[in-house]
């Protein structure tokens, strides 16, 4: 599933583009969070953001085509986490990352469009998009507040 070397640990998963496999990624993140002693609230939040990225990749990127894969990579180094979630779809324009999150008072607030992106942006420290080897990549970074353990 992954390689571990030195202080930087890399984990990789790949699933077909069906929501039924989201649970596999979620379960893996719970396991990783427990192994690396992430604080529970932060684990909840990080998993929400990553699941959101994977959901987007399945639905909007790969259009639920099971033969298209979604890949998730995680680098954990000390308290810094970096996720790369990639799909085989067309991606979205970079300027969507700059759209302001609607306030609850705004009429836009109850509309669904863009909520997934707002969730990722609000939880993580940084979000970037990229295209690499024919895949659309969403990169998410966060520095955890609670110290990360070194595992067993």
């Amino acid at each position: 599933m992954g390689t571990i070397s030195g202080t930087s640990e890399v984990l990789r998963w790949e699933i077909p583009s069906l929501f039924r496999w989201l649970g596999v990624i979620d379960a893996a993140l719970q396991e990783v969070g427990q192994e690396l002693a992430w604080e529970q609230d932060e684990l909840n939040q990080v998993s929400v953001a990553v699941i959101e990225a994977v959901s987007n990749a399945i639905e909007h990127g790969n259009r639920f085509e099971p033969e298209r894969s979604v890949q998730v990579e995680l680098w954990a180094s000390g308290r810094r986490l970096r996720f790369r979630v990639s799909d085989e779809g067309p991606g979205f324009e970079r300027d969507r990352l700059d759209l302001p999150t609607p306030s609850p008072e705004s009429p836009e607030f109850m509309k669904s469009r863009g909520r997934g992106l707002f969730i990722m942006r609000d939880i993580m420290d940084a979000i970037r998009i990229d295209r690499e080897a024919g895949r659309f990549v969403v990169e998410l970074e966060k520095e955890l507040k609670a110290p990360v353990g070194t595992g067993h």
Partner: protein
């Protein structure tokens, strides 16, 4: 997502289990909400006690249900939300929109009329 519907003191309770992620679940949920509104049953409680997690598409399902019931003059509330779901409601600021309760009994008692 699985939904079982029951009634308690004139409150329609949707017991949801599994994951709320959109797709075909969206239509099933909307149809159920609309059927109950059409029957004049506009006090709807969503019991999330057995929901593992929800994504933004799933949140859209709840928001659409909330809007339909509110527009019909009813009330749409949540009960038994887990820490993880509370976390996503906080991040999305939806915790200020949805009225939610720790227990079903509290939630049922909160409905008026």
């Amino acid at each position: 997502m699985n939904i079982k519907v029951r009634e308690e003191e004139q409150v329609v309770i949707f017991d949801i289990s599994g994951r709320i992620m959109g797709g075909p679940d969206s239509e099933t949920f909307h149809n159920l909400v609309k059927e109950h509104i059409a029957q004049g049953k506009k006090q709807i409680l969503i019991n999330l006690g057995k929901v593992n997690w929800i994504n933004s598409t799933g949140l859209g399902i709840l928001i659409a249900g909330y809007t339909s019931v509110k527009d019909a003059g009813g009330q749409f509330k949540l009960a038994n939300i887990s820490d993880r779901i509370e976390s996503i409601l906080m991040v999305t600021k939806l915790s200020g929109i949805f009225e939610s309760f720790d227990s079903e009994a509290e939630a049922v008692a909160s409905f008026s009329g």
